[in-house]
Amino acid sequence: MRFSDLVRSELVKLRTTRTFLGNFIAAVGIVAIICVAVALATSSVEDVSADGVTIASIAVYFAFVIGVLSVSSEFRHGTITPSLLVVPDRERLLTAKFVSHLLAGLVIGAAAVVTTYVLLGGLVELRGIDNGIFSADALKYVAGILVASALFTALGVGLGAIMRNQVGAIFVGLGFLFMVEPLLTIIPTFGEWVADYGLGASSDALMGSAFGAGDPALNQVEGGLVFLGYVVIVAVFGYAIFRRRDVTA
């Protein structure tokens, strides 16, 4: 069996339900709403700076959900059984899911960036305000968001391979990012470490996210590498668990 065929099969799976399309539309829709709101709210004396592009970074969480669903949806509906009957080599199947969903994540991230440029760029331009998102400085944010979309999708695939339950996996992933980690930062010493090098801190550093406050401990490249490290750790556990699991669904 050719690996490219396995990736093609995963892309057919993505294309043939409404799950991917739904997440894609939701991601682009939310980015669009924020872009319009920001464009209208920006007063004429203020400039939109280069980091206005980071509005698009909200799409990475939808990319994460798509990643989680790549494995957990198959368990939920029992399609994991026919999938494994055709591809019994589970490492290869999971690798095909990583590759295909990295692509899917990139598509969502790219769509969000394009939406930001069209809407925020267009509306602000119409109002005749100086727009930093067309400056060369903005390119590092674009790159960060694209890489983060791909990595967040991979994080989702890994987590989905560990936890079969799709709602549980999404809840654990986003809950950790937005609730547990911020709470952990309260703890002395360890909390400071989490605030500087945790999942949220590293991904925010990668995206140059406007949501991250203060002076980041990690620069963009360092943030990307640390976040990649987390993704790899989750993926290693994902492989180990998925490889041995009894599939009775």
């Binding site: 069996m1 050719r2 065929d5 396995l6 093609r8 099969s9 057919v12 799976k13 043939t16 339900t17 409404r18 799950t19 949806s73 509906h77 029992g78 399609t79 059984t81 026919p82 999938s83 494994l84 009957l85 055709v86 591809v87 019994p88 080599d89 041995r244 009894d246 599939v247 009775t248 669904a249």
Partner: protein, 316 residues
Amino acid sequence: MSTAFAAIEVRGLSKRFGETLAVSDLSFTVTHGKIVGFLGPNGAGKTTTLRASLGVVNPTSGTALIEGRPYRELENPARVVGSVLDGGMLHPGRSGRNHLRMLAAAAGIPASRCDEMLSLVGLSSVANRRAGGYSLGMRQRLGLAAALLGDPGVLILDEPANGLDPQGIRWLRDFLKSLAAQGRAVLVSSHLLSEVSQTVDDVVVISRGRSIVQSSLEDLLREQAATGTRIAGPDVGRLADRLRAEGADVKADPDGSVVVTDRTGEEIGELLAEGGIVISTLEPAGSKSLEDVFLSLTDDPTGSPGERGLGAEEVS
């Protein structure tokens, strides 16, 4: 499509889920060109055995070989084995055609083959509908279409008759026969003997994860038919004593009747008249229906075929 290897060879297979021993030291073989019925009540371990043979469940011990190799080591399994396992196994939002396409894509099978298979199982008209709206029968047919995508020489079907109406069951029966006639090996599980009794060549009967009987369906019936005369009634105990006193072979059944294998009906009648013995039933023991045979085999808590005199190969 036959090879030097048996189509399916299960050797000493055991599977434990936590405290439960679902399958215990099970062995059987399926050869090409045969339809083998894999029978047992619900919960006997059929599905676990099939799943372990197909590499989706990891055996605790023992092996299952398909064409001489473990399933997970087959180069392109869809071209060797087609299988339908129980359950929905469909994404409700994906059409039947796309379900086949995603599987075909992975196995390097052209999409045109999907449409051929859909027409073979009679699903062409609903192929583009979302599978969530399919009836159980349509799901089973789609499962069969998926199993046949790679034109495999071995078919493993778990309760394929579930959800089929009488016409569907007849269709399935003819379909399986035509597949076996082409030289394929077919292993088909069922909890209902009547569903497969007109289809299968051999049977493997399991209960509580253990093999009880393995034989051809013909032998199973013949052995049953040749077990003498069954007698039941109020004085059957006295009759049994007299028969034993004469040195006859008398076996007591759990239902209170006795079976005599080496006396004719007339000889027994003479004893009855001499002793003034009252009985209610005197019949050939083989008149037990196939269903009775199956039930008595699988209900027996000891699961020992020897007592039944079936002469079938016992797997210990």
